[in-house]
């Protein structure tokens, strides 16, 4: 007998608390016009400025141990982990599930960092500094993993989990194939966890993530097409699951000018059209524009669905970008890069 299924009453209401909260948190993000001013400051001034913002606690706590660039790097990472952990802790039901599903990317990040660290023979205390325990794997568990002696020990610790199949691809020589497999696994798992549900929230998460995959693939295409890499190699590096997957994979290996012409007419074209010319020398500028487009996309979409996972996603991407921007500025200044070069890389939505 067919069962009449009514929509669950009051479902968007589950998102009211968390969206209200992230919208308030959004106002505390560093405004775009601050970045040029930060570029004129020296490192200690930037640290002092960050002390006036949401990074105060981390800067205060870590200032005994570190100073200068190190202090800012670790404080921003610690704050990122704390903020994301808070988001998954203060939400319930569907939002909590979707946020955790999204935050698994930090598990992937941490596993990659562990593998890279062990591969390069870095000490475990040094590796731990670059971990961001924002996902499902706790800080304690990651500490334990970092203390293991070899890559094989870390890989065997994941036996029986979903990561095992991706980590099995490690051939002892290079990490690129494992890292690609981990990325693919992340998106595959998200499709599996969310794609099956008929909920509106899950659908919106997938919609955003598909767009994100497209942007990531597009960046890969820009880099590799510019460098004239072989089409087959590019195809291997393209992450499946994007909305424009077929179209984008057809563009792999095209001559750069032709590639640019075929991008015209896509929604992201208007945000890069003025700088995307055949003779562009640095692709990083296009990357920054595309990332900014993704942030604007999340916030624009969240205007149509105010009570949904989208404002939370928008916030998480904005926050991630903010931390990346601060690190770019600080690291760039330390390395003595010219201001214009740093400015190109900073993403302002």
């Amino acid at each position: 007998m067919p069962v009449l299924r009514l929509p669950k009453f009051g479902k968007p209401v589950k998102y009211a608390y968390i969206t209200g909260r992230v919208r308030a948190m959004k106002t505390k993000l560093i405004p775009g016009e601050m970045y040029p001013r930060m570029m004129a400051m020296d490192t200690s001034e930037i640290a002092r400025y960050l002390e006036e913002t949401q990074y105060k606690d981390e800067i205060d706590a870590l200032s005994k141990e570190y100073s200068g660039v190190e202090l800012i790097e670790h404080a921003t990472f610690a704050n990122l982990a704390k903020t994301f952990r808070k988001l998954s802790e203060v939400s319930i039901d569907e939002p909590s599930f979707l946020i955790l599903e999204f935050l698994r990317r930090w598990d992937v990040w941490n596993i990659k960092t562990l593998l890279r660290g062990k591969f390069a023979g870095v000490s475990d205390t040094e590796i731990v500094k670059y971990l961001v325990p924002a996902g499902e794997l706790s800080a304690e568990y990651l500490d334990e993993l970092a203390k293991k002696d070899s890559i094989q020990d870390i890989i065997s610790a994941f036996d029986g989990t979903d990561y095992a199949s991706a980590l099995a691809q490690y051939d002892g020589k290079n990490l690129a194939s494992v890292e690609n497999a981990l990325d693919k696994l992340y998106y595959f798992r998200m499709e599996r966890a969310v794609g099956g549900t008929l909920s509106v929230g899950g659908g919106l998460l997938l919609k955003f993530v598909r767009r994100e995959i497209d942007i990531r693939n597009l960046i890969t295409l820009f880099r590799m097409n510019k460098a004239g890499v072989d089409a087959a190699v590019i195809q291997e590096n393209i992450i499946p699951g994007g909305k424009l997957h077929d179209e984008l994979s057809r563009m792999a290996g095209q001559p750069f000018g032709e590639f640019l012409r075929s991008l015209e007419g896509y929604p992201f074209w208007s945000s890069i059209s003025d700088i995307a010319t055949a003779d562009i020398d640095a692709v990083s500028r296009i990357e920054a524009r595309l990332k900014a487009y993704l942030i604007r996309y999340a916030w624009a979409l969240s205007n149509y669905h105010p009570l949904s996972i989208l404002p939370v996603l928008g916030y998480m991407v904005s926050k991630e970008t903010e931390v990346a921007n601060i690190r770019k500025i600080v690291r760039g200044k330390e390395a003595g890069l010219p201001a214009e070069l740093i400015e190109e890389q900073v993403v302002v939505a």
Partner: protein, 88 residues
């Protein structure tokens, strides 16, 4: 009209008055649940928002006033049957 019928009608009038306030209350409650949750979320981050938040949260409450006004009119002001009920 018989007095008993008038009594039934007056009773129905009272039920209608009750429904007017009651349903308005339920509607306002449904409206407020989301606003209330959102306001608590914002106040958790920014305590200064409490005053504005409370004002926004109480907006749907005005609907109850409409319901209450209809109830009061039904019970005390609009009395086409009052003469019948009062009649011996």
């Amino acid at each position: 009209m018989a007095i008993a019928d008038a009594g039934v009608l007056y009773g129905l009038l009272a039920v209608g008055a009750g429904l007017a306030t009651g349903l308005a209350g339920i509607g306002a409650g449904v409206g407020e649940q989301g606003i209330g949750a959102a306001v608590v979320g914002v106040v958790a981050e920014e305590p200064g928002f409490l005053g504005k938040g409370l004002f926004l949260m109480l907006l749907p409450e005005t609907l109850i006033i409409f319901g209450l006004a209809v109830s009061l009119i039904l019970m005390f002001a609009w009395t086409p049957f009052a003469s019948l009920v009062a009649a011996p």
